[in-house]
């Protein structure tokens, strides 16, 4: 007889198998990492450059380069590039963060011959036509203005300024900055930072011998300037705890952020901090979700996270709540932080979190595209190849005592930033 009150027995999650990529160097020295996996005849090819926003000496330069990159080259117009990429059903995406810029191509294997040469032409010979720059900046400025109407954007901007105060990570563009970007700025940044001597190539999907040969014939034959190595000195943020309020009149919700700068992924405490963060606000069943959404109904969602960038990490709690409950929500967040610093996490809760993280890890190392992203984390942070195995060991061995110690070490001096119509201070 079926007894529905008894849960099926949980089986251990011990089949996480993080495979390392194939690695080789092309004839011209460019390193390639690849995963030959998956049943479909598709590939994703990423070329990563040290061209993140931290390198720019003027606001918006890195993002404008990234966005105008495919708007014209020495050979093709913007329209011709768009026509060719679209015609072969390919997707060309460019991504930018504080540290890196990535040009990603998604393509059916059978069309790669037609598409890759165009992408490489963009990477090596973008021309940044003035009219395309103007059009982009105009569109982008209107998006910026749209953002200024959203409490979430206002709050995130204030967060970045507060947490990374004084460092290259802490700059936020203003409306006026959109009028200051010149074509010379873009060309200089492009030439210095989209340089093949600093590029890394990642490929995932059907990386067949034929494809490898084609990549060698294409990317491996590009000429490389050996002389421009990118050097960079990061200014550490001058952080102090503050409470910031950005007024948005008439807003019916407040966007709340808590946070501070913190350790990076290569720090010995990082894995434990990650586990602690999951308990606090890192999954649907987290304490913040259970209290502020599921018990109080103040919000549609709340979460916390640790973001590890190349130079420094940051911790964040983020939510949007009804204006009338702004202060109550802040009080509840503070009480959850206090609780996790003073009381031991019950074993049962900790076990749920451990299995949740293991399950996520299993899912996030499934298939070539996910594996590639995980490997990039290892690669760009200089982590050991067995990083994920060590993480799994840390998950198994984490104790409530250790996590309380971590909470007291890292959940201190958090700044509070609110955008909305209710001044919480």
């Amino acid at each position: 007889m079926l007894d529905r009150t008894i849960a099926p027995k949980a089986q251990p999650i011990d089949n996480i198998n993080f495979i390392l990529p194939d690695h080789w160097k092309l004839e011209n020295g460019i390193p390639v990492y690849s995963y030959h996996l998956g049943s479909e005849d598709v590939i994703k090819l990423d070329v990563v450059f040290p061209a993140g926003t931290k390198y720019q000496t003027k606001a918006l330069v890195a993002s404008t380069v990234k966005n105008v990159l495919n708007e014209g080259t020495d050979k093709y117009s913007s329209k011709e590039i768009a026509d060719a990429i679209d015609f072969y059903g390919a997707f060309l995406e460019t991504e930018l963060n504080n540290d890196y810029a990535t040009v990603s191509l998604y393509c059916l294997n059978k069309h790669i011959d037609n598409v890759l040469p165009i992408v490489l032409n963009i990477i090596t010979s973008a021309s940044f036509p003035q009219n395309e720059i103007d059009k982009y900046l105009n569109r982008s400025k209107q998006n910026y203005l749209l953002g200024q109407e959203k409490v979430a954007t206002l709050s995130s901007q204030a967060y970045v300024k507060t947490i990374f105060n004084g460092s290259e990570y802490g700059k936020v563009a203003t409306e006026e900055d959109y009028d200051q970007v010149t074509r010379e700025d873009l060309l200089a940044f492009y030439q210095k930072h989209y340089t093949l001597s600093e590029a890394t190539v990642f490929i995932a999907g059907n990386v067949s011998p034929v494809l490898k040969q084609f990549i060698e014939g294409q990317i491996g034959q590009l000429p490389i300037d050996k002389n421009d190595e990118v050097t960079f000195n990061f200014t550490l943020p001058d952080y102090k705890q503050v409470n910031v309020f950005k007024e948005k009149k008439g807003a019916i919700q407040s966007a709340i952020r808590f946070g501070k700068p913190t350790i990076k992924i290569d720090h010995e405490d990082f894995n434990h901090f990650q586990i602690l963060n999951t308990v606090l606000g890192g999954y649907f069943g987290s304490r913040l979700m259970m209290n502020i959404r599921e018990d109080k109904g103040y919000t549609y969602g709340i979460g916390s996270g640790i973001s590890s960038k190349k130079e420094i990490g940051n911790f964040i709690i983020s939510t949007e709540v009804g204006s009338d409950v702004t202060k109550d929500a802040i009080k509840e967040i503070q009480s959850e932080i206090n609780k996790i610093k003073t009381e031991l996490i019950p074993e049962k809760e900790l076990n749920i979190v451990k299995n949740y993280i293991l399950g996520s890890l299993l899912k996030n190392t499934d298939g070539p595209f996910d594996l590639l992203e995980r490997y990039k984390t290892i690669h760009f942070n200089g982590l050991a190849d067995n990083h994920y195995d060590l993480f799994i060991q840390d998950i198994h061995s984490a104790t409530p005592e250790k996590l309380r110690e971590i909470a007291n070490k890292y959940l201190t001096d958090l700044s509070i930033i609110v955008a909305g119509s209710v001044d919480f201070r």
Binding site: L2, R4, V42, L146, Y356, G359
Partner: protein, 411 residues
């Protein structure tokens, strides 16, 4: 995508897709109920109900915790047509998914606390996504402009917050009885699983669940629109926007694919007509898109764009109409047609890289009538001719069938 299909005695349909390459199983339960099945005085219910489905079931106090404890994740979404619940978890723990999903199909806990809290959560969602967001109320305006009779005239979040505030326990229970029945659901499992074993487990966990209600969908048909409709609103937004919607065929109609490709010709990718003409060449819009809603019943063909500041909104509107006339007057080129078909092909290939996508797709097509239509779609897109695209554009994208919304920036 190969699959095996079974139907249980209680009417529950089971689709199993075997993919041996992954340690993850996708467990997708699709219910044949959406916002279109709501009472006009109780809108937003299908979506509110989706939230309540996580508030504990007859024999299990909490849904999320036991799932997380075995390494699983889950979520759900509600549309005007369907409500879809999905779990991904390590395959060795698939029994937990059976246990949780079958118990909440059997019966919910219906605690007053859960109703109270989820009402508040949904109200905050209403505010966050529809009210406190620039252009957030757009669908709350455009739907009732385009639809006068069919329940597509309200959005899934509901017509107004009040309907959610007023939700009563008895209404909630009645909704469950009417719609959350095995014969109104499709279970699709994708992963490294054996179909026969899945059937056995499905019979074990779901076989004893009885159908409690008997809902027959009988929705009012939207009368043919005979004259152009127009609405203008002013809001605190940084730039004006135009939304235009035309009635089109339903999801199962053979012309569906021609409509879909027509929207791709107009706006898919940077090479598309609307983007090239209106954003890049004429610089009248800062962004523009064309899409169709993919609704099960007769849907909408939509063009929407944000007007560049300083441009007269009427000029911008006329420019959209010019682009449409162009497609109606001159057939699209072979090159353009091949392009949009190539995009469909590659999108499909990338979608199939993931078991959850595959499970959702198979379940959805089974609900429409036959899971195998998921496999036949590619050929249906392939069959679309240049003439088909011109014909549907000429027949349908006409002023008397159009609802236009000017969403103007103050000042």
């Amino acid at each position: 995508m190969k699959f095996t299909k079974y139907t249980l005695d209680n009417g529950l349909r089971l689709i199993v897709h075997q993919d041996k390459s992954t340690p993850i199983v996708a467990f997708n339960v699709l219910y044949d109920v959406g916002a279109r099945d709501e009472d006009e005085k109780l809108t937003g219910f299908a979506h509110l109900f989706e939230h309540l489905m996580f508030g504990g079931s007859k024999n299990i106090a909490e849904f999320d915790k036991p799932l997380q404890a075995v390494g699983g994740q889950n979520n759900a979404f509600t549309s005007n047509d369907i409500t879809n619940y999905y779990i991904t978890l390590p395959k060795q723990n698939i029994d937990t998914a059976f246990w949780l999903e079958s118990d909440r199909m059997l019966d919910l806990a219906f605690t007053p606390k859960s109703l109270e809290v989820q009402r508040n959560v949904v109200i905050e969602e209403f505010k966050q996504r529809y009210l406190n967001q620039p252009y957030g109320d757009l669908w709350l305006l455009l739907r009732p402009l385009a639809y006068k009779e069919h329940p597509y005239k309200w959005a899934t979040i509901g017509k107004e917050i009040k309907h959610i505030e007023d939700a009563k326990m008895e209404d909630v229970k009645a909704f469950f009885k009417a719609h959350y029945n095995p014969n109104n659901a499709v279970l699709c499992i994708a992963g490294d699983v054996d179909p026969e074993e899945m059937l056995e487990k499905t019979n074990y966990w779901f076989g004893g669940i009885k159908n409690q209600g008997d809902y027959t969908r009988n929705l009012p048909k939207e009368p043919k629109q005979t004259e152009a409709r127009f609405l203008e609103v002013e809001r605190d937004v940084p730039q004006s926007a135009i939304y235009k919607a035309w009635h089109m065929c339903d999801r199962m109609h053979p012309d569906y694919y021609a409509f879909d490709l027509a929207t791709d010709v107009l706006s898919r990718g940077n090479s598309s007509r609307l983007y090239q003409t209106l954003v890049k060449e004429k610089e009248l819009f800062t962004d523009i898109s064309a899409y169709q809603m993919g609704s099960s019943d007769e849907g909408l063909f939509v063009i929407s764009g944000k007007v560049k500041n300083g441009v007269d909104i009427n000029v911008a509107n006329l420019a959209i109409l010019d682009c449409i006339k162009e497609v109606q007057k001159y057939p699209v080129s072979n090159q353009e047609l091949t392009k949009v078909k190539n995009k469909v092909e590659s999108t499909n290939a990338f979608t199939h890289m993931n078991v959850l996508n595959k499970a959702m797709k198979l379940a959805y097509f089974e609900l429409l009538g036959d899971a195998n239509w998921a496999n036949e779609e590619a050929e249906k897109y392939n069959q679309v001719s240049i003439d088909d695209i011109q014909r549907v554009m000429k027949e349908t994208i006409v002023p008397s069938n159009c609802s236009t919304l000017y969403y103007k920036a103050k000042n």
